[in-house]
């Protein structure tokens, strides 16, 4: 994570909320007055297929918003791990949704943290908050943003249109924060 810059990729199936997860991270970074860029891979297909979002968080000016070699890969399912594991920077981190990933990969020069994000989300009553559960594990492990910034970002995002979602997403984040396990 050179130059105080963290390059993050979030990947999963379309519909697993990777874009929303990226949005929450980027907003939390803005709350902390950090520089941030966010991008989603945008395609013709609307649902299904794989999706990924990239977020760069930095204390300094960000030149390129692209993430070729992520410092952190937040992985929601097996195909995404298979696709992005080879790209992760040496000494980088993979945050893995263990419910949807059976084989955690073979790299020995990266760290891994896992959380049963989909399972925890289900137990909270909404399978769709797995994306926020996994953010909890990511923040717990890296500490690059403060948990309260994430909670504030969740609040900002949902307060006008879907206030009912604030509570479950906040709970999801906390559950992920508590449920993170090193692999």
């Amino acid at each position: 994570m050179a130059n105080n810059q963290t390059r993050i990729i979030i990947a999963g199936f379309g519909g697993q909320g990777v874009v929303l997860a990226g949005n929450i991270l980027a907003r939390a970074a803005v709350i902390e007055d950090k520089n941030v860029t966010g991008m989603i891979s945008y395609g013709a297909e609307m649902r299904g297929g794989t999706a990924n979002a990239t977020v760069v968080i930095s204390d300094e000016k960000i030149a390129s918003p692209f993430v070729e070699v992520p410092d952190v890969a937040i992985i929601m399912n097996q195909p995404s791990l298979d696709k992005f594991e080879p790209d992760i920077a040496s000494g980088g981190l993979a945050v893995i949704n263990s419910t949807m990933v059976e084989d955690a990969g073979s790299r020995t020069d990266i760290d891994r943290v896992s959380v049963g994000a989909s399972e925890i989300a289900n137990s909270l009553g909404n399978a769709r908050v797995a994306n926020v559960v996994i953010l909890g594990a990511f923040i717990k492990r890296t500490g690059i943003l403060q948990p309260r910034s994430i909670v504030r970002a969740i609040d900002e995002l949902f307060s006008t249109k879907k206030p009912a979602f604030i509570e479950i997403n906040t709970n999801a984040f906390n559950a992920g924060y508590e449920g993170a396990k090193s692999v």
Binding site: A44, E45, M46, R47, G48, G49
Partner: protein, 242 residues
């Protein structure tokens, strides 16, 4: 009873969203091509929109056109090769907004081609903006409070519009929201192709179809929307048959 995937459809999964009607319409067109034995003499035109990729699924000659221009391209192909079978496959934005001029003039000239018009009342590929056929009150990303007759006008009815044109041989509006509708749609599409073989002129089948993703509903709710809302706004039936 046998039910097999038609030969004119390639053995590949489509990119369409779950519950999208394009897959059904693709199958019907391919079945008709199979049954009439036309696969080797058919040239299809791909539009711009979700079905721009239809050449990935149809196992016959296809030409991809600029947005709205398939009727013009098809006109030239049919004029140059009158013994071939030419069909256009267009969505609502392609046929009824940017390509209205091309549509009306190809139809009015009585071009001997077959047009398949898939009407799902929304722009799919660009992410759910208002289509010319969006219903009054229907919410889209560019009519966030619902389509307003005073601001955006009423939905454009292609079959009714074309019915007055002398060059048009056959117009029928069908749906693919129930199995029964699908069976009727197949008959209409077959007739539209048979007309071309018989040299009758421009034949168009409008197919009311589902877009669960951009309507932001489940596939089941999308079917209900076609059955309850779209069929009321766009009555099914034969609009012209000479």
């Amino acid at each position: 009873m046998q039910f097999k995937r038609p030969k004119t459809i390639k053995d590949t999964q489509t990119h369409y969203c779950p519950g999208c009607g394009h897959g059904i319409v693709h199958r019907l067109v391919a079945e008709v091509i199979d049954e009439l034995g036309l696969r080797e003499k058919t040239i299809g035109t791909a539009p711009v929109g979700c079905s721009v990729l239809l050449y990935n699924y149809f196992d016959c000659d296809i030409i991809e056109c600029a947005h709205g221009r398939p009727p013009a391209v098809a006109t030239a192909i049919k004029r140059c090769q009158p013994d071939k079978v030419v069909f256009t496959y267009q969505g609502d934005g392609d046929i009824a907004a940017i390509g209205t001029a091309e549509l009306i003039h190809a139809a009015n000239r009585g071009e001997n081609i077959t047009a398949i018009f898939v009407n799902n009342a929304i722009y799919g590929m660009t992410g759910g903006q208002m289509a010319p056929t969006t219903l009054i009150g229907q919410k889209t990303t560019t009519t966030q409070n619902g389509r307003d007759r005073k601001k955006q006008g009423p939905p454009l009815k292609v079959c009714e519009l074309l019915a007055s044109l002398e060059g048009v041989a056959y117009l029928q509006r069908v749906a693919v929201s129930t199995a029964k509708d699908v069976i009727i749609a197949k008959k209409a599409i077959k007739k539209a192709f048979q007309n071309q073989l018989d040299g009758k002129g421009y034949s168009l089948v409008e197919v009311l179809s589902m877009c669960p993703t951009d309507w932001k509903v489940t596939p089941k709710q999308a079917v209900d929307f076609v059955n309850n809302e779209m069929k009321a706004a766009f009555p099914l039936g034969v609009y012209k048959d000479v």
